[in-house]
């Protein structure tokens, strides 16, 4: 008998004041259809709230969606707060209206992957698939 594998737990989050969450919801539906456990924070959550939810819900990944251009300071704050909460093991990915020149800066902060507008959904799904293999494979037997 094959052991029932734990599925990846993902928190899709919107921070800042922007209210455009169409893309965040589309991704949430894609990930759910792929079988992952997906939560969506709703709009305008503070970084503190996102960190709190991520820890309480024991998620493996936080996906932050941006539209209005605040991705650099917001991601910086998230990485900092995760560190302070000893939750650095939570993987952070960022997507949305992100100029290419900012991708490197985000990765330097510790963001695992960046999906700017124009990214094919297959690339995003591949990333999550590999991530699940890494994370959930490592924990096999712990479930």
């Amino acid at each position: 008998m094959t052991e029932k594998k734990r599925r990846l737990r993902v928190l899709i989050a919107k921070t800042g004041l922007d209210g455009h969450d169409k893309a965040a919801k589309i991704l949430a539906l894609y990930l759910r259809n792929a079988g992952y456990e997906v939560l969506y924070t709703g709009l305008r959550r503070t970084i503190d709230e996102i960190v709190k939810t991520a820890i309480e819900e024991d998620v493996d990944v936080i996906g932050l969606s941006f539209y209005s251009g605040v991705h650099l300071p917001a991601s910086q704050e998230l990485m900092q707060k995760l560190k302070e909460a000893n939750a650095e093991d939570i993987v952070v990915v960022v997507g949305g209206v992100i100029p290419k020149k900012d991708v490197k800066k985000l990765k330097e902060m510790g963001v695992a992957e960046v999906f700017p507008v124009g990214t094919r959904i297959d690339e995003v799904l591949d990333f999550f698939k590999k991530l699940e293999e890494e994370i959930c494979h490592d924990q096999k037997g712990n479930n």
């Binding site: 800042g16 004041l17 169409k22 919801k25 589309i26 539906l29 503070t46 605040v70 290419k100 124009g118």
Partner: protein, 538 residues
Amino acid sequence: MTKKEITEKDLKKVVLESGIEVKPIYRPEDIKDIDYERDIGDPGEFPYTRGIHKFMYRYRPWTMRQYAGFGTPEDSNQRFKFLLAHGQNALNVAFDLPTQLGLDSDHPLAKWEVGRVGMAVDTLKDMEIAFDGIPIDQISVSLTINATAPIILSMYFVMAEKQGVDLKKIRATPQNDILKEFISRGAWIFPVEPSVKLVCDIIEFCAKNAPKVYPVSVCGYHIRENGATPAQEIGYAFSIALTYIDKVLERGLKVDDFVPRFSFNFNVFGNIFEQIAKLRAARRLWAKIIRDRYGAKNPDSMKLKMIAGGGGSGLTYEQPENNIVRAAYYALVAALGGTQTMALCTYDEAYTIPSAKASLIALRTMQILMEETGVCDTVDPLAGSYYIEWLTNEMEKKIVEAMEEVEKWGGMIRAIENGYIQAKLAKQSYEMYRKIQTGEIVKVGVNKYRMEEEEKVTEIYEFDEKAYQRQIERLKEVKNSRNNLKVKESLEEIRKAIKRDENLMPYIMEAVRHYATVGEITQVLKEEYGVFKEPSIF
């Protein structure tokens, strides 16, 4: 051997987004039930299918209104003057997110957003600076503001008063459509019911005091951006409009007192004939609803006024220059659909806040259409086309279906509070996106004729730290120089008026006169009304 003749069965099936199957050829029998006087009518005549004015663009071409508003009021003032100097005849003002959400520039949550997606406004002082030297009695101004519309419109009115312009002469359009914010754009603050009350306060106040203001612009546009089909765009927008109308009627106004000043904001992207038929069907259906359901007598109540323009969702991040071409088609469609006002998303919107160059190209796109192509010569030139008239009929049926769906949900307010409409649109957005990913919906440069490319748009808007500091400084100065006792008193008067359930506009205008801030006034409203809690739709 004889070659097999190709029949309709050999052709690929075509179904429009609104769910209408399209034949390859239309003939007279497809429109044999149409009665010209009853169903189409001359332009300017009921049911206004062909347009709300007799001579349309032959007499008065559409108004061009690009969205603008940058950083501080000083920056916006310069951009407004630039656009007016280049032939634009109306302004469309964008506000930053803190202003839209009722937070002052010095609020901790506002820190990254001040002046980013539009103009920062904290007090009347900012409005005075933004419109300094602009002839507001000669142009019309759209204020793209919703949750805080009562405050921003009050500031506009008081600024006008101080410039010596009578309220009765002011031509302005606050967007003031909060219900679409809950459905699409997300810039809501208060719960649904009090939010609608504030919308109606503006409608009532303007009907009585500022008759040239269009107090609400009902936005199908954003609902379409967020996954609605073209038919749902109109249907849901009408359901929203009727929600406002019913609430204002409860206050004792007559339909002809305020409905003539309703306007709509519609989206153009996708199948071009579907969009043209959509706008024609919308005009006809609106006229019938307002006359037959509400018993309007004034033809002006039945005339659907609109701004229509190229939607951002039709544009692509890939090969961004292609968006200039797309926007030109959208402009043509908006003109063939008979809009009064037009705006186009700029080619660089997937990258950044529109650059001055991109805004100018969008303006020139509309000007080329208007001046060079003959599109203004003849009203509704597609009328009588077998296909267009058939499709107009079909679109009307689909719009009615969407409105009936909202009724089944218990009306628009319940549909939003329970998240029904949000959930439906999220699923549809997902489906549309999926079809683009699989190539079922072709997007040139995205899923067909794709190529490796360098990032094309390099003129990216950068946050202006100095402008932010200037804005904070000015807020401080205003707070130090105003009469704080008067501010406190006027804020308390707003609170009392809320408890008495009065129209808040006169009280908010009074607070604004004393330089109360957007944040201070919003805080009082939050304390009394509470804040909206998003329904979980997953």
